[in-house]
């Protein structure tokens, strides 16, 4: 039985999913939250600038994990973060229409062999290793000179709003943690939408 666990990680996930499902159910029915400590996830700064007919994005998000996710991370649990970028054209009498939307996915996990925290940019495939979790989170929350969209897509007489948002993708957590993540504030890691005027 033990050997099977190690050789078949997906089997473990399967059991975990069913268990987490029921845990979430029971926990949701009984209590709201199990952890008083909450994570920090907010954008400190974000802005765009025009260079060579291309809008570039610089942003920095402050990310601090609560104990539960940090503990899970060093115990082999992989955390998935999603950065949502969007540009909307403002409309006075109607809802704003999106002209650009993109989701950047990041994987953060601990590599025991070299004692590194690894950040994998799923959208590019780049991997970066960090000795400390703070460094890894700083990299994860930073975008520098990211090419957002060409200026040709922006009409001069229209107003546009850019927005950025980062959050933990809880649906990709291991099953047993999914229930906790659903109800625990420690796992409620979603930043507010940070908006600014593009032009």
């Amino acid at each position: 039985m033990t050997l099977r666990i190690f050789s078949s990680p997906q089997w473990t996930q399967s059991r975990g999913v069913s268990a987490s499902f029921v845990s979430a159910l029971i926990l949701a029915l009984l209590v709201a939250s199990t952890s008083l400590q909450s994570a920090v996830l907010r954008f400190e700064s974000a802005g765009t600038y025009l260079v060579d007919d291309m809008y570039y994005l610089d942003c920095f998000a402050l990310i601090e994990l609560a104990d539960a996710p940090a503990n899970a991370l060093v115990n082999g649990v992989e955390l998935n973060f999603v950065v949502e970028l969007a540009v909307h054209r403002n409309r006075r009498w109607w809802i704003d229409t999106p002209v650009y939307e993109r989701r950047l996915r990041y994987r953060l996990f601990y590599y025991d062999l070299t004692r590194h925290f690894r950040v994998v940019e799923v959208h590019t495939g780049n991997t970066t290793n960090y000795r400390s979790l703070d460094q890894a989170l700083r990299h994860l929350g930073s975008l520098s000179r990211y090419p957002l969209l060409p200026a040709a897509r922006i009409k001069r007489h229209k107003r546009y709003t850019a927005s950025v948002r980062i959050g933990l993708d809880r649906t990709r957590l291991p099953g047993p943690l999914m229930a906790q993540a659903l109800v625990s504030r420690a796992w409620q890691m979603e930043s507010e939408v940070f908006k600014w005027s593009l032009n």
Partner: protein, 737 residues
């Protein structure tokens, strides 16, 4: 409306089946979809929400069923207590094995999960990881030494020759990449080996470069983008010229694929184990919760199925109770639907057969009662239509029933005769009723079974003869139960007898008197002729006077005999369509000349219908009445005599009749003779025979009519005649006019 819908949903096999199937499929899906974790992760919240909603719905519907059952028990609804017992038994039967399975399963789950973790395995994994690290450290130190040697050889190499030197050194050093970063932090030279194609030379982070310039070399083993491990080394390159800054050499060395793969496997296994150990407690909790949910689901299913099965089982019992109650209230029309071929089905069939028999018996009784009622109604109808009076008395001689004829004969008032006490006749207000019961009271008190008596009831202006027959009613069980009295108004019989007697008298008088009259007259006339010439003087005058008197009186007697004969021997009549107005006008025209001219006033109604009558006889009637009126007014001067003849169509109980009124301004009729005015030989005139009005009455009655004489308040005498109009003639005589 909502309560009815909720009740229907709670009893809906389809809805509850779908909900339970949904929950079972969800559980099965959750337990068997590990291979599709990514998709399931996205569906996780949706499924959980759906499950919560389904559980809440099922729980509410079960609560509704429980509440309804408790309400039924409190309201003593038929079958509710038995349903409650069945539900309790069913739930208890399901709960006990479920609790046993649950408790053992929890223990088994906990022990099974604990058995996954082994200290030896954990230690072995730690050791494997440590061994891998040590191996990598050894390799790193070797590469560190190589890098330091390369940095020493690059110490005083001019920048323009750096690339050539790096290529030369790198080809001998197994480095995959060498980068020389100058003091100004720019890349002086960079070379790549081992088929590595890079667009831009890689460089370490700025802080690492800064620390290297300070003398702190950097050494690490990092996984690369492709997952392969590599050694990264950053060392300072010191120049002999102290004025030149410190450069930095950055070198990367690949690790053999086999070693890297082994290390990655150790890393993966260690990570999986750590993760599993970390998730051990959540996994146990979740497993127990899964089991709890499954048991909870089974319990809810058991409760609902218990309700459903109990209700299904109780349907025929409930119907039987309701049917019995309906039968108890007298409703035998309800039939219970068959509930199968089991014992309850036999009971339902027997109940239906019983209600069938009861229904037939009740229908038979109702039919008998209806028949009796019809007979009673028919008897009442017959009694109401006969002219005889019928009265039944109870044991205390109180009137139980009486028909219309009795009330009519006794001239009872609006209150009728119901519930009158016959023995208390002295208190009665109606004089005829009082006279009647006063006459029969002595007979009622006798023990005679049947008796008969004749009596006369006197009214204000007439006397009514009655014949009354009485019979006592006796019952074998109760003995005497009352009397039945049958009495008839025999005025018509008495009058017919009187008329017949008068006719016989008249016929005999006519026959006996008429025969000697002619010889007497002839003898008187012969005496006149024979001795008139022989006598002289007073004798002759005396003879003439005497014989003249004899002849005159004989003539008068002949007239009287003739009148009698006419009364006694009325000729057969010929009924034809006759207009009374025309006859009256015709007769009155005869009186335009003579003493009574201008005395008759006609007030004839227009458009009165014809009658069926004998015109000659009616002319005789008119003559007699008019003549009688003028004779009655003989004391009044002729010029002052008045006779008004009026006709009108009137509606009476006997149908439509034509009324003829003859009103004079004479002295009127004597009050004591009013009742007998139309009897023969009743007259107020000195020379009258008393036959005229009798003939009038006789002819009118032969036409189905009636007569009446009275003295109106304004004075004079009034004779009223009524003759039915033409349609009634056929009814009365059975012959068309």
């Amino acid at each position: 409306m909502v309560a009815k819908l909720v009740r229907r949903l709670a009893n809906s096999l389809l809805l509850m089946g779908l909900l339970f199937v949904f929950l079972i499929i969800t559980l099965y899906f959750v337990a068997n979809t590990g291979e599709h974790l990514d998709h399931f992760g996205q569906l996780y919240q949706t499924l959980m929400f759906g499950t919560v909603v389904a559980l809440v719905i099922i729980g509410l519907l079960i609560l509704v069923s429980v509440w309804r059952l408790i309400s039924d028990v409190r309201n003593n609804v038929s079958g509710s207590r038995l349903t409650l017992k069945l539900v309790i038994v069913f739930v208890a039967m399901a709960l006990l094995p479920m609790a046993l399975v649950y408790s053992f399963s929890v223990r088994f789950l906990n022990s099974n999960i604990e058995s996954w973790f082994d200290v030896e395995v954990e230690r072995a994994l730690d050791d494997a990881l440590g061994l891998s690290r040590d191996s990598l450290n050894v390799y790193m130190r070797i590469r560190q030494k190589t890098t330091l040697e390369l940095s020493n050889r690059l110490a005083d190499v001019p920048a323009e020759l750096a690339v050539l030197v790096l290529n030369e050194l790198g080809s001998d050093s197994e480095a995959s990449e060498l980068t020389l970063i100058g003091a100004d932090n720019r890349v002086i030279a960079s070379t790549a080996f081992l088929d590595t194609v890079t667009v831009a030379p890689s460089r370490p982070a700025d802080d690492i470069i800064a620390r290297a310039r300070g003398g702190s070399a950097y050494l690490s083993t990092d996984p690369s983008n492709d997952g392969e491990l590599q050694v990264r080394s950053v060392v300072p390159v010191f120049s002999s010229d102290p004025l030149e800054g410190v450069s930095v050499l950055y070198a990367t060395y690949p690790i053999a694929s086999s070693s890297s793969e082994l290390a990655a496997n150790v890393q993966q296994s260690f990570r999986n184990y750590r993760q599993l150990a970390y998730l051990r407690e959540p996994l146990k909790q979740s497993s127990v919760a899964t089991l709890t949910l499954a048991m909870f689901l089974c319990l809810m299913m058991a409760v609902w199925v218990a309700f459903y099965a109990a209700r299904r089982l109780m349907v025929p019992v409930h119907n039987l109770v309701d049917g019995t109650r309906m039968v108890a209230t007298g409703d035998y029309t309800s039939r219970l639907s068959s509930s199968g071929s089991d014992e309850l089905g036999d009971l339902v069939d027997s109940f239906n057969a019983m209600t069938d028999q009861l229904e037939r018996a009740r229908a038979s009784a109702a039919s008998s009662q209806e028949q009796a009622e019809r007979q009673r109604a028919y008897l009442e109808l017959v009694l109401s239509r006969i002219s005889s009076g019928v009265i039944t008395l109870d044991q205390q001689h109180r009137i139980r029933t009486c028909n219309i004829g009795a009330a009519t004969i006794l001239q009872a008032g609006d209150e009728g005769l119901e519930a009158l006490d016959c023995s208390d006749y002295r208190q009665m207000e109606e004089s005829r009723t009082q006279q009647f019961f006063a006459a029969i009271d002595p007979l009622l008190k006798t023990d005679r079974a049947e008796w008969s008596t004749e009596l006369e009831l006197s009214g204000e202006s007439s006397i009514t003869p009655l014949i009354c027959r009485g019979a006592s009613m006796r019952d074998e069980q109760r003995g005497y139960t009352g009397h039945v009295l049958v009495f008839d108004d025999i005025s018509d019989v008495v009058e017919a007898q009187r008329n017949a007697a008068w006719s016989e008298v008249a016929r005999r008088l006519a026959h006996e008197i008429k025969n000697p009259l002619t010889p007497i007259q002839l003898s008187a006339e012969r005496l006149q002729r024979k001795y008139a010439g022989k006598l002289h003087g007073d004798d002759a005058v005396t003879l003439q006077k005497l014989t003249g008197t004899i002849v005159t009186q004989v003539g008068a007697m002949k007239s009287m005999v003739k009148a009698f004969a006419e009364y006694a021997n009325a000729p057969s009549m010929e009924f034809r369509r006759t207009s009374l107005n025309e006859l009256i006008s015709e007769i009155s025209y005869l009186y335009l000349e003579g003493d009574e001219q201008n005395c008759i006033t006609l007030e004839l109604a227009e458009d009165i219908p014809a009658i069926a009558g004998d015109a000659n006889r009616i002319r005789q009637v008119l003559h007699n009445v008019i003549k009688n009126a003028f004779e009655a007014a003989s004391d009044i001067p002729r010029t002052s005599r008045r006779l008004t003849i009026a006709t009108a169509l009137v509606h009476t109980d006997n149908g439509e009749q034509i009324e003829m009124r003859f009103q004079d301004n004479g002295p009127g009729f004597p009050q004591d003779l009013l009742d007998r005015l139309f009897e023969p030989y009743v007259t107020t005139k000195k020379k009258g025979t008393g036959i005229g009005l009798a003939i009038v009455k006789k002819i009118i009655e032969e036409h189905g009519g009636s007569v009446r004489a009275s003295n109106p308040p304004e004075g004079g005498g009034l004779v009223a005649l009524w003759i039915p109009v033409l349609p009634n003639y056929a009814t009365l005589h059975g012959d068309a006019a």
